[in-house]
Every structure is written in C-alpha cells, then in structure tokens.
Symmetry: D2
Subunit: 431 residues, 4 copies
Amino acid sequence: MGTRLATPPADAREAAVCAVDPLAARHAAVRERSVELAAPVSAEDAMLQSMPDASPTKWHLAHTTWFFETFVLSQLRGHRPVDETWQVLFNSYYQAVGPQHARPMRGLLSRPSLADVLDYRAHVDASLHDALASGQLDDALRLRVELGLQHEQQHQELMLTDLLHALSCNPLLPAYRDELPAHGAPAGAMRWQRFDEAIVEVGAAAWPHAAREFAFDSESPRHRALVAAFAIATRPVTCGEYLEFVRDGAYRNAALWLSDGWTRVQAAGWQRPLYWLDEEHAFTLGGAREIDADAPVAHLSYYEADAFARWAGARLPTEHEWERAAQGAAVEGNFVESGRLAPTANAGDGVRQLFGDVWEWTSSAFLPYPGYRPWDGAIGEYNGKFMVGQQVLRGGSCASPRGHLRASYRNFFPPHARWQFSGVRLAKDIA
Amino acid sequence: MGTRLATPPADAREAAVCAVDPLAARHAAVRERSVELAAPVSAEDAMLQSMPDASPTKWHLAHTTWFFETFVLSQLRGHRPVDETWQVLFNSYYQAVGPQHARPMRGLLSRPSLADVLDYRAHVDASLHDALASGQLDDALRLRVELGLQHEQQHQELMLTDLLHALSCNPLLPAYRDELPAHGAPAGAMRWQRFDEAIVEVGAAAWPHAAREFAFDSESPRHRALVAAFAIATRPVTCGEYLEFVRDGAYRNAALWLSDGWTRVQAAGWQRPLYWLDEEHAFTLGGAREIDADAPVAHLSYYEADAFARWAGARLPTEHEWERAAQGAAVEGNFVESGRLAPTANAGDGVRQLFGDVWEWTSSAFLPYPGYRPWDGAIGEYNGKFMVGQQVLRGGSCASPRGHLRASYRNFFPPHARWQFSGVRLAKDIA
Amino acid sequence: MGTRLATPPADAREAAVCAVDPLAARHAAVRERSVELAAPVSAEDAMLQSMPDASPTKWHLAHTTWFFETFVLSQLRGHRPVDETWQVLFNSYYQAVGPQHARPMRGLLSRPSLADVLDYRAHVDASLHDALASGQLDDALRLRVELGLQHEQQHQELMLTDLLHALSCNPLLPAYRDELPAHGAPAGAMRWQRFDEAIVEVGAAAWPHAAREFAFDSESPRHRALVAAFAIATRPVTCGEYLEFVRDGAYRNAALWLSDGWTRVQAAGWQRPLYWLDEEHAFTLGGAREIDADAPVAHLSYYEADAFARWAGARLPTEHEWERAAQGAAVEGNFVESGRLAPTANAGDGVRQLFGDVWEWTSSAFLPYPGYRPWDGAIGEYNGKFMVGQQVLRGGSCASPRGHLRASYRNFFPPHARWQFSGVRLAKDIA
Amino acid sequence: MGTRLATPPADAREAAVCAVDPLAARHAAVRERSVELAAPVSAEDAMLQSMPDASPTKWHLAHTTWFFETFVLSQLRGHRPVDETWQVLFNSYYQAVGPQHARPMRGLLSRPSLADVLDYRAHVDASLHDALASGQLDDALRLRVELGLQHEQQHQELMLTDLLHALSCNPLLPAYRDELPAHGAPAGAMRWQRFDEAIVEVGAAAWPHAAREFAFDSESPRHRALVAAFAIATRPVTCGEYLEFVRDGAYRNAALWLSDGWTRVQAAGWQRPLYWLDEEHAFTLGGAREIDADAPVAHLSYYEADAFARWAGARLPTEHEWERAAQGAAVEGNFVESGRLAPTANAGDGVRQLFGDVWEWTSSAFLPYPGYRPWDGAIGEYNGKFMVGQQVLRGGSCASPRGHLRASYRNFFPPHARWQFSGVRLAKDIA
C-alpha cells in the first residue's frame, strides 16, 4: 500500500458513539486491547512466523480487521474494500469467501508494513463506528460485530502464544516483556472431588436463535448426557509433579504412551515440555526464567498429558466431566488481564483454577454435539469443519481474555500441539 | 532359516485332539482358513508391501503364528523359540515383548521364504495341539489361544485388503482370484428407521472376567448411555448414489469437506473412491470389473463418507446409534465365507446389511468407554494405545470372517484410510 | 541487544585515516556501499528469508561485519566481542570458527534489530579504522581486510538477489526501487567468434603469496591447459530468443533436457524462467515490468541453459573457453553501479557483454585446478569445500560490483539454482 | 501373463547358429551368464527393491531382454511384442521409447513371475537367434545387438550390487552365496608412481563410425589433453588403512569433508563404510564376514573417498591421470569371473589392481569430452543425459564382467552413492 489511509475520525466522536451503544463500547475496548498487546512488539518481531501453524503478530492484527471488513462492512451499500489484494492476504481459511494466501508464507509479508496495518485497523474501526452511530447495522450485522469481537479475543491469545514460539527460535531468547511478576503462591495439596452418576445438561443454547448470550455454534445445542460417577482433581498438575515424571524416565518408556504419542516422542526427540530449557529453566514471555515448581505445568501435547495421567494411575477427564465440575463455578482466575502471562499456583481450597492458568486437555475428541448445526454461510466454517482429529481443551489460560470464557467453552487442538498454554487436570473412575 | 523345521505330527493325531476339545477344533479350523485364503497367492505375491500401513501376506501368516508362539507356547516350560531372530521380524507393535522389525521394511523379507513360513505355521500348530492334548495349558493360556484366534481372524481380513492394495499397484491389474461371482440383486429403496430417545446399554461385559463370550477390551465395560432420538438408513449407500456425488463435482467443492479432508483431497488428488479406475470400472479382488451401481460403495475414507453425508443432507451415525440399531439383529450377511469378496446389494426389507458387505464409518472417535481398563500385560497394547486420532467403524465387511463379529464390535482406522472395505450408512436427527 | 553500542568516531577522524591509507579508503567505500544498497529496504523487508538458500538483508549486513570482527579484530590483543552470541548468529558456514545458527532460521531473528545491526557495522568499522590508523594491523591482517572487502562485495550481490526472491513471494509484488530505467538498446545480431586449438594460460597466480592482485584461492594456480578449437557467441542469449524456446514447447519435451533437469522441470512445474509472470511480464527489482525481448535472459538454472543450447544446436562453453575469450577484454559492462539492476542489451560489435548483465553458465563443474591448495585456516573453507555438485559461472552480472570481477573469476552454483542473474552464452565445436 | 510363451527353439539349433556367427555365440554366452548369476536367487529374492536407485533381480532380467526386443526385434517386419504392457514395465528411462513404470515401484511387480520372465528371456533369445541365422539383421541391427550385450554386462554388475543392498536390509543377513572364498594375500606396501607433465591421448574413437572396437559414446572422441605432473598410488587403499581414518574420528571432524559430504554424514548418521557392521565385520555377498584388513576398502561414497584422501595428505586422481596410468596395462584382475565377489588384496609389484576389485573414484565430474556427440536416436539417452552432478569412477570391480572394461571406460555415480564396489586410489601433485 503506497499511500497511507485516510485519517480516522477524532477520538471525541468515537467516545460519543460508545457512550450510547454498549456494542460500540465493547468493540472499542476489545480492538484497543489487541493494539496494547502488540505494543511491546517491534515491526520486526511482528513479522515472525516460526511454523506453519502460527502466524505473525502483524497478520493477526490484519486478519481480525479483515474479519470486520468482510463480514460486516462489505455487506453495506457503498463499501469499497480498503485494498482488494488484502482480501486474499488476510483471509485465513474461509473457502466460501475466496482464496487465501498460503498459510506458511504469512511470514513473508514485509508489506503492508506494521504501520500500514495499524492504519488499516484505525480505518476499519472508524468506518464501523460510523456505521454503528448512523444505525446502518441491522440486527444481523450487529451479531456479526459480536462474533468479530469473540474472534478477535481468540486471536489475542494466539498473538501471545505464536509470538512465544517465534521468540523461542531466536538463540538470544528475547523477552516479549521484561518485567513479568515473580513466582506465585505454593500450590497446595491436590485432592479428589467426587461426583455421582447423573444425567446432566451440557453445552449452550444456540446463539443467536435460542440464546442472547454468545456461545460458539460448536457448544450447542444444550443437551442432556449421562455422566457416570467420577472424581476430578482439585487443581492442575504442577511443574514439580511433572518433573518427577520426567525424572522417572517417562520420555524413554514406551509403555506410558499412546502409539502415536510414542512415535512423536521419538521422531521429534521430545524430552520435556516445550520451552523447558533444562529441568530448572524455561523460556517464557518474560525470557528465560527459573521453573516455578508450584505453578501448573504448561505447553504439553495431548500425548504428554495422557502419558502423565497413566503414569500417575489416573486418566484425563472427559469434557462432560470437566463441564459438570465447572458448572456453577465463577469464571475467575489468572487470565491475560493479570499481566502475569504465566500459569501461577493458587493456594485456595476446593476445585480451583478451572478457568485461566492452563487449558486442560480432555479425553474427548472435538465432535459435533447431538443435533449440532453449524452457523449458516461462510462463518459456518468457523468450527464445524475442524471436527476430526482434534481433542477438546477446557477452561482458558493465562493468555485468555477474561470475558471470553464460560463453562461450556470448547477449545480444540490436534494431539501433538504444544505451543498453547496447555496443561493437565487429572480424573479417575470411582466404583 | 537354512534348514526346514521338523515334520509336524500326523493329521490323524490332530483330528483326535479336535474331537475332544472344541478349542482345538476351532483352532484347527481358523488356522486352516488362513492358509486357504493364501492359496491363490504366489510366493512372489506374498512378498508385496505397497505402503507402510499394509503388510505382505507372508508377514501376516508369520505374525499370527508368532502370536501363538509368544503369548502361549513361550509360557510353557521347555519351549525353545523356533528362531530367535523371528521374534523381532514378526512382532508387530508389542513394545513390552521387545523390538520390532521396521514396519515399512516388511516387504524386504525374502527370507524366510513362504515355504519356511508355512512350515513355521505347521510346527507351531502341532506344538499347540500337543500342549492342548496333554493338558499343559491352564485356563489363562487357553484364553490366550482364544485371543490368538480372534487376532488371526482380524489378520485374515487384512491379508485380503492389503493384497488388494498391492495388486492395484501393478499396471497389469492382476486378480487375486479370477472366478468371482457376478453382480448381486437390486439395492432396494433406502428408507429411514426412527428411534426415540432412550438410555441404552452398549458395549460388552469385560472378557474373560465378567463374561465368557469373547469381546475385545475396548468394547467394555458394558454401560448405559443416553442416546437422543435419531433415524438411520435401512441400507448402506450404493455405488450408484455415490456416483451422483462424484458427478456433482463434490471432489472440487471445498464446502462439502472437513478441513483436513479437503487438504487431503487436494494433496492426494482424490477424484473418486480408491480402486475406481473411472466412473464405470473398479479394481477388485477379481481384477478390473464393471462397477455394480446397486452394490454398497466401499473404499471410502472417513472424509469422503462425511462429505457424502453432508451432500446428502444427512450425517453419519454415532457408534451408539449404530449399536442401538444393531442390537437384536442377527449377525448375518455377506462375509468372506460367501466367496463374493465384494460388497453386494441385498434386496430385503427393514434395516439390513448392518453386518458384512462394508464397514460403516461412524462419527465417533475411538475413545475409551467409561471405566475402560486395558487387558493386563503386553496384550494390553492391543487396542488401548490406539485411542487417539481414529474413527470407529462398525459391522464388518465382505472380507470379515462370519464368526468374528457382534453388535458391540469396534473397528477403528485413521480418517484418511481407504484401503479397507469401508462405506457409509446415513443417519439424521429427528426433532 | 538491550543497549545500543558506543558511539562511533566522528566522520572527520575517519576521513583522515582514509586520506593516508588506500586500504582504509577502499574499506570505507565498500562498507558504505552495502548500507546504500540496503537504504530502500525497510526493517521489515530486511527480515525476509524466502528459502534456505537465501538470507535476509539484515543477516547479510551483520554477517559481513562479523567477518571483519572474527578474522581481523578478534586477532588483536584486547578485543572484546561486541556480543558473544552474535558469533553464532552471524557465522555462515565456518566450521573451524564454531557453531552456526541454522541457516533456514535466519529469517527468525527479529532481534538484533536492523538498527542494532547498523550500529554494529558502525562500531566494527570504527574499531577497524582505529586499528588501521594506529598501525595495529600487520601485513597478514591487512590481507584479511582485503579479503573481507571481496567477501562483502559478494554479499552485496546476494543482498539484491535474495531480496528479489523474497519480494517475489509477496502477492503484492512490491518493488525494491520504483524508479528503474526503461529498456535498453536493440540487441544486435549474434555472431560466432572462432578460436583455434591452443595451449592457454588460465587462472590466477595464488594471492597473496604469488601475486599482489587479489584472486580467490579457487582461481589458482595459474596453469596451462590445452583448449581445442571452438567458436563462442558474440553476445548472450536474449529474452526474445528464449521465448521462442518456451513457445516451441521446450518445457514439455524431455528430449531436450538432462535427466536431472527433466526431473526438476516436472517436480517443480517449471514453465519459463524464474520471475517471468507470463510470456510478456516479469518480476524485477523494479516490480512487475514488461519483458525486454532484446535484453539478455536471466534467472535460468543450468538445466535450462543447457537445454536451450541443445535446442539451438549448440552447447555451453567450458570455463576454459570462456576465459580464453575474455582474456584481454576490458572489465566493463552493466554492473550494479549502472543503477539499471536488470540485464540490458548492448548494441556493440565483436564479443561483448562478457562482464556484467548476466552470469554465464559454463559446462564446467567447479573442481580444483591442478595443484590447487586452499588458503590456510578457517578461510580455507571459503571455496574448497564446495567443490562437488556445482557448475561454474563466469563474468558477473548487473548486480555485481564493478571492481570485484576479472577474467579468471569463478562463480559457482548448483545446477538447479535460478535466483541469480544467470544466463547463457552459446558455444560450439569447430572441425 | 496368463499363458506361458511358446516353446523356444531346441538347443541344437542355437548351437548351430553360434558356431557360424561369433556375435550369436557371444550373445548366447552373455545372456546365459545373467541367468547363472541369478541362479542362487529365489523368486522371492528376485522381487526385492530396497531403494529407488536399485532394481529387483527380476527387473534386471526382464529389462535387459526388453532392450533386445525394443531396439532390435521390434525393428523387424512382422515382430509382435511379447506383451505390450511390458514395454512400459521394463523400460528404464528411455523417454523417446515411451512411458516407464515408476522406478520406486519396480519391487511391486509380483507378476509377471520370475518363471514368466525367464520364459520371456528364452523367447526373445530364440527370436534373436532366428533373426541372426536367417540374416534378417543388417549391420546397424547387429551393432545394436553388440550394444545390448554391453548393456547386459552393466546390468550383471548391478544385479549383484542391488541384491547385496536388498539382502543387507534383512535382519537375518542372508547370503547370496554361502561358499565365498576366504581372504586373499597381504596387500603389500603402497608406493607412488610418478608421471611427468605431458600431452596425452585419452578416450576412445567413436564406435561404430570411427572404430570397430566397442566403446560408449561418452568415451569419445579420443582427444589430446595436457596432464600436469603427478604421482599415483600403486594400489588402492585397504580396509586396514581406512579403519585408521575411522578410528581417528574422521566421521566427526567437519574439517575433513566437503560441505555436501558433511551434511550427508550428519543427516544419514554415517560412521563407517556401508556394510561395515562394526569395525571388524562387514556384510558381503557371502553374508556377514570378518573384514580383511588387506583387501581394498569398498562401498565408499565420493565424499568418503575425498575425505580419506584429504586426511591422508593426498587427493583423488583426475580421470585423465588415472587413464594415463592405465594406458598399456593389461585388463586383468579380480572380476566377477573369479567367483570371489569381494575385493581382494594382490601382493604384486608396480601399479596394480587398476582393473577389478573396486571402482576408483576420480575427482573428475562426468562431463562431455570436447567434441562429444551422443549416439543418434533413443540410445543417445544412454549416457549423455546424465552429464551433470555425477563423478567418474574408473577401472571396474570384483562384480564387473571381465570382457566389459578398458582403460577409457567411464563409470559414473552421484557423489553420495555407496552401494557399488567403490573405493579409493590416492594421487598427489609433484612439483
């Protein structure tokens, strides 16, 4: 983009819109949050793509903007695309929208520059606020704005996890932020919370038809399920506990692993969690730091979580078990807003840390709920087309935005993925 | 193996053992069946390994023998291994037993020869019958014999499907057998059978502790599950129906596919089912033949089965739904004993062809049932370690031995696998 | 690098050194030239690594500096490395010096920043000028400075060709510089210049022992060779001539190609020279432009050069033939200093454009000359260890610095390499 | 091939043809030799293809027959192809003849069977002898017969080396023949033979135009070359000498290796010559045997040969140097006819073992000689299209047929190839 985009509207005008329209206010807040998260990131850092599964910060900033432009603004009469070629560059995987720039080549986009992308954000935000202020958005498009915000919050977490991976590839081990807080509280004992067999309601009513509260299509419909008696751990597994597993030779003991997991351990030479530099230090968003033995262990694949559970004489919870344990619990915990940017022990009682700190691998595959229907149109590609070969994770992490989570929230990754803040909570059968 | 093995005992003696011990009789019959299936296979054919997932016929014949030697005979005092190096060559994946010859290199074993392997079979069979006749096998080892027979039956099916794949790689398109029967009956209309919501019992009681009838550990424990109302098709999808999907451009339409499926379609250049040479001919165990539009379509991946269902406005059944529909049905159908060696239409009424013809992909991932415990020891590796990244198939095929199947039987393959006789039965939600 | 490096010395002081020491003056000029070449490159552009064979601009700027630090400054008493970790980051392939950052991961170095690298350059340059001014460098180290300058000039060319490749991967097709000059003169007819059989002297006397004029070790020793009679074309092959080859279906005609070449053509889907967008447009350092039919064709692999020659009823020259034709010719032509940054026709008479415009593939493999001895120590890795699997190119290109070339200069690349300004000059046998 | 081919003519008739036509006699002898070499090979062994570069014994037997059918018989009026599909199956790489069965899938041809292929041989041989006897073959076709015999002799060597590789992949380490002779004589001292600078004639006059004695097109034209003074070792490097190199840590010392070689050593984990099981035992055509320290070392890549020479303070000879040393020497040595099938020391004086025992890597790339012209037509693909990326080997090995070699013979392989009997003879510069 040779020339910079037109000046966005004055802040005063935006403030006025936000004062009268809660959606506009939320939009402004969420969008601003992305830019804040990117603030410690130089234009050069924002280029980094260290693996095909991850994307550069700049791409996240642009793609989330593309989402609003494509699914909201471009529906309005008279909208002109900011740049037609960007429709391709910043489409992630929406086949129905059109072609996409090859995912592994996102790191080769030195142009548009970070400054251009920030201009693009400002321009699209201003247009959207104008549209909100002038009442151009009907209910359907306002729902699209809500969806765009949820989408943006997901990418806020990925911005951090993708960047952590990218920085870990630099032998200088540079930090995203230097001033991360010191270690947290002691972990407290792990106990078992028992649940009897019951028919429970799980999932969320379908948004927006059947519920006003947002939930992804994959969380619906809310439905009944028979859940056998089980017990679940009161807190996630800690780094100290995981270190015992490592020191017990688990990474050299085939008997502990799923077949695919053992193949991966050997092919990739895994010896400990991703980012553990040795048994005492790990790379974090704050650079190389001592491992906090009390903190929940993170950056595990499903294979490692499953092997740990087997070694510990337990198993992973199903997603229904997890959700049952979480129903009624407040959505509180160590989220991105805490600024810790690392899982941290919590010395409380009872079942704790279900939300925040680490995503918890469940033994459930990411499959449609009974009666599931994807959203109509291109946004139906959001979740439904990934329903094979992935495992469900629950609860959110230290990099998740607080307002984005709920008990029915289903995150998913392939079983070898390690670059998220993914950890373990144990479960077991009871007679 | 330089020298041939010692002569096996006379047939007369074996007949005497079989007359008094049903297990011995069953053993003799199943083992003989494998050799019969290999009869049309030359020593050269028996070498073929056309992909890492498949094994040569000779290897199947040896590995099933190794199973009896390792898990039964080697437990007996005084047993000497037939050849110690064969312990490695013919171990498939039992880490607890010891190392394995690399799977993709099974096709490089010109020695031992097919004749040597047949001698090995005769030798181990004779030893086993001696042990049975002399009462050397306690109950635990007799159960191992039973397990070995179930294992052998699984490999009988793989012998045929692996060989079909191997022969398909020869531009001469040679047949396994030339005299396969002609096409079958018309397919009859596909209707929907409805089931109301219910709590159903699924799975099988754990063999051998909780049940005398054999079932694999992965089928247990028998447990209750809440199954919502659904409808299931009265017969599998036919080649003619699938051809419409092909002709509708489905293999060029991303909207129909799971994301991983679309990636695979494009990377592998899939255009129609495996073994369809064009839209009118397919390669079969009888060589190249005209496609029977009425026969159940086979050699589909999960991705294709799922995409077809989406195209047809339906979905795949869950394994619970399938099992509910199959409960009470007789285990009858077109199995390997029919000698057709190809799926074939059946003009009957009601829900039919649940057993035989084609394995039916379900939308369920192969995961542990609540309370699942793998068998103890090395044979615990049989199923449990594959419980990630695989989808369940149900019902058996035209290459399955009749006595091997039941309603609770769970077969599993990764979603891209196409070389089994794998097809589709549709299901749908009902309000 | 958290803190910026100390301020470099004032320009006035440097000017004084240069006035009295020609080596210092040359050093200042060559080093400044690299920075000028990088001037149109943003910090984001300078990150790009589009393939393992290419490096980011920033890495070139740092690595050439590392060369002076490692091979000159670090030999001085009291030298402290600017940053020890950079010794690894910016080592290219000198095993004797120590480990290297993995080549394909050079694009993941967002830190040090471009600004830090420019500081590093200034700091090392200042130290070097101090050392020159104070007479700290003995003759051996002054020779190392000379070598460092030759090395830097090589990287100046690679900076341009690597960047061209990287920018070509951006669908926006951004230009390195927008204001490139328009097309050049008509090409003039191609004629044949004949040479009789002779024993000729080729190569260069070994620098620095046997000659004061710089030459790489691989050019020595100067030696006699018997060169049979041959004819050589008076100018390189043009884009227009190459287009005829393309239009004649050459890329679909196996008979024209070396076996490895044909394999590559098919595997990579080559249809025309790298950077030709179609038969009329090509991507260049000035962005997408119309192809100049009269300009020498560039960005050919050896396979393409060889196939073209076969199609034209000719062959490629050997490096001895080329050198014989070039002996006595002035080293003049279209080099980087012309600012054209593209091969351009030259309407002159006689054998022309031997130097500049395009590197000319020869049929000679890059092998040691009789009596060849690599330089001693780590710099002996400069050329000698690449003497297998590479073909010699001669003459220099529109991206080569003028003062860097001579008739004996041997460039080399593997036969599939296309991203250099590599073209063809024909030769033929004469009876 | 469903039905066996028609009965070949009686032996008596063939004997009559051979008695009057030396070409027929030679044809009968060479063809018979291939079958003899295959005699210890079972039908199962003859299927083995252990890497894409190697072919099954059965394929060699068929392909050499295809050569006579395609290039001789099919030129005759009334010839009907034995089986049209075999034209594709057994074409190696002749693009001008038509498509080829994919090379890496040659091991999947269980049909035609070995027996069918031997029938095919008999049938084609009979037809050829009929054609010779009846005078149907003009001079041009008689030359093709001669070429076919040379071609067959090359494949006789490959049959052995490919089979050695295949058998080495079987953990049982089976032997091709059990009764190989014991070790040979002591090696005798290695001395240097000096040659002064000279203009020498190298190569062979072009067959059949310019010479009646057969030579491959790549050996011609005979031409003059200036060869500087050099010294060459009087015998090849022995296993004992090579063991010192291994024990000196050479495989862990980057400084000794070409860059591509070092990359290969690390990627492939090379630690010693191919087939050395440890430092005392090697796999051979006679199975696992003790290494004979006096025997010439074999199964080295060019990289290893080059690294050894550097370690020894010497270098490899050029092909001109080698040829100069070999001119005038009798073509005698340890060839396949000796039945040793392994390199063996020879205690003689002077320059010895130039022919037989091991192919000797030269530092020369396989490039066209000045004035080279490939043969016309499809057989022009025989050598010319491989003239890039390969190194020349000279002299022949213990697996080469005696009558196949001469001083000008140029064998060639890529620098990483190790599965031939390839060894080292040292050379050095002399002032």
